[in-house]
């Protein structure tokens, strides 16, 4: 048994095509990949919103003034 479809390289390479694991599962892998991508956006979006809401009330005027001086 081999996940890539070959258990030995005693083959004519002219007849070898794909050699990645789990051939035939490309569409489910794509679906997983797209969920991972969109999920990342969702997580980042929610976190940034929360963070900016907190941040707008965070800085005390003296420290903000110091930040402005740090060109």
């Amino acid at each position: 048994m081999s996940t890539i479809g070959y258990e030995s390289w005693a083959v004519d390479l002219a007849e070898v095509g794909a050699i990645y694991p789990f051939q035939g599962w490309e569409i489910p892998m794509t679906i997983v990949g797209v969920i991972f991508w969109l999920g990342w956006h969702r997580i980042q979006f929610v976190r940034e919103n929360e963070h900016l809401e907190k941040a707008r009330k965070m800085g005390d005027p003296e420290k903000v003034a110091q930040q402005l001086d740090r060109y």
Binding site: V16, I19, Y20, W37, Q44, H51, A55, R56, M58, G59
Partner: protein, 457 residues
């Protein structure tokens, strides 16, 4: 790869593109340095993170659908349907989109285009520094990097694209397909986003917000020049026979070609890259009265202006055209800034958008009547076709979608950071613990120094 010669040719071509991809990575390094150099200290980490995360987001989406668009869209939707035969071979679930011994080039070729996608997104990133939400920019990065630019590439940067065939559109090194579209896109976003706090005085007079670190900015732009050189090589097919092109070229002489499979040479583009860089630098120095920011950017704008025709121009033509483009872009930048109160933080709209636009128009005149393609039935290069192409790139595929999406984001309140956060700086907001700890240790060290000084007396 049957036979030594065939193997050598295959390995040469895949290695050629692979090297260009590595060189092009420097474009992104340069953009990161440029943006950080141009931003103020209190926004460094946010500026850097915003541009770095463009890399994975555009990469995965370009794998999922960007590459398929390039192969499926050359005639779609105006002059035919989707090209399923070519498109299907480049879907993310195609067997050739992975480790496959029957296909040794797709991954490298995909990567060459992908690096252009990063560039398009990164150009937009520079214009919006210090006030856009990261989440908003990253949506725009995916749209420009994996949708809009690659549609324009299918139409106008593909040997079978409808703009090439019917308009005679010619844009060998991407004045329009990368730069005009990205500049137009950046304009659409900043028009909705608004200027940074303090950019304009109460009476509307623009204020300069100088880069905090001119050295970092200089190294950044030199890295962009270097990567751009790799980009030029990536735009060529390095060696191909007339038999493989299967067009109108007769004889058996192999040649390098541009993206349209029309003949050029590495020699030609090396002459023209350096002469247009020089023309741009010289013109920018004069027009900006030696301003470092604009002189360095002018070198880039010069190359961008001449890029549309740099496969065919004479080097002196490339130099003059570059100079014209730089003066145009510089003057237009300040006119737009004064007139419309727009804050293009790094001059991205000017350097990429205006220079790319005018470069396309000029190429239409200078190369008027030259064949746009080695295939029969294609329109020749002409001023109208290239001008229409410039409008499509800058306006239709660049400015318009950016403006619409930014308007939606603005209406939802998710485009711009709050004013309080902009004032205190994004790094303070995101890394306040780091900033507080740093401030604390500096204070402690100063106190220790002061007490030692007192003790010594």
């Amino acid at each position: 790869m049957d036979g030594n010669l065939n193997a050598l040719t295959t390995v040469f071509v895949e290695f050629y593109y692979w090297v260009t991809v590595v060189f092009m990575f420097l474009i992104h390094v340069g953009f990161c340095m440029y943006e950080v150099g141009a931003s103020r200290r209190r926004n460094h980490m946010h500026t850097l993170m915003k541009n770095v995360m463009v890399i994975p987001l555009v990469t995965v989406t370009f794998f999922f659908f960007g590459w398929w668009i390039y192969w499926a869209f050359p005639m779609f939707p105006f002059f035919g349907g989707l090209n399923h035969e070519m498109g299907n071979a480049n879907l993310p679930w195609s067997e050739t989109m992975g480790t496959n011994l029957q296909d040794r080039i797709s991954g490298v070729f995909w990567a060459a285009f992908l690096l252009f996608s990063w560039t398009a997104a990164s150009i937009v990133s520079g214009a919006v520094i210090e006030r856009i939400r990261s989440s908003a920019l990253w949506v725009h990065a995916v749209l420009i990097g994996s949708v809009w630019w690659i549609i324009d590439a299918a139409w106008g940067w593909h040997y079978g694209g409808w703009m090439v065939k019917y308009l005679g559109y010619h844009d060998a090194y991407a004045s329009g397909v990368i730069h005009a579209i990205a500049g137009g896109y950046a304009l659409g976003v900043i028009m909705v986003l608004g200027p940074r706090i303090g950019k304009f005085a109460a009476d509307g007079t623009p204020r300069d917000i100088p880069p905090h670190n001119p050295w970092m900015l200089t190294i950044g732009i030199f890295l962009i020049y270097t990567g751009f050189w790799g980009f030029y090589a990536a735009c060529n097919v390095p060696a191909i026979s007339p038999e493989v092109i299967d067009g109108q070229i007769t004889g058996t002489t192999w040649t390098a070609t541009n993206i349209y499979l029309a003949p050029t040479s590495l020699s030609a583009i090396t002459f023209n890259f350096l002469m247009s860089l020089s023309g741009g630098l010289m013109a920018a120095y004069v027009v900006s009265k030696g301003d470092a920011f604009w002189t360095f950017s002018g070198g880039l704008a010069g190359i961008i202006t001449a890029s549309a025709g740099n496969d065919l121009y004479h080097p002196i033509q490339a130099m003059i055209i570059a100079a014209i483009g730089v003066v145009f872009a510089y003057k237009l930048h300040y006119w737009v800034e004064r007139k419309f109160k727009l804050d293009d933080a790094v001059g991205a709209v000017a350097v990429h958008g205006y220079a790319g636009f005018i470069g396309l128009v000029i190429a239409g005149f200078v190369l008027w009547g030259a064949p746009s393609s080695p295939y029969e039935g294609y329109a020749a290069i002409n001023p109208l076709g290239n001008t229409i192409g410039a409008v499509i790139m800058f306006g239709v595929l660049g400015f318009l979608p950016a403006f619409i999406v930014a308007k939606i984001q603005s209406a939802m309140g998710v485009l711009r950071i709050p004013e309080e956060v902009e004032l205190q700086g994004l790094d303070y907001a995101e890394h306040h613990a780091y900033e507080d700890a740093k401030a604390g240790i500096i204070e402690a060290n100063k106190a220790l120094l002061a007490s030692k000084g007192t003790a010594a007396k």
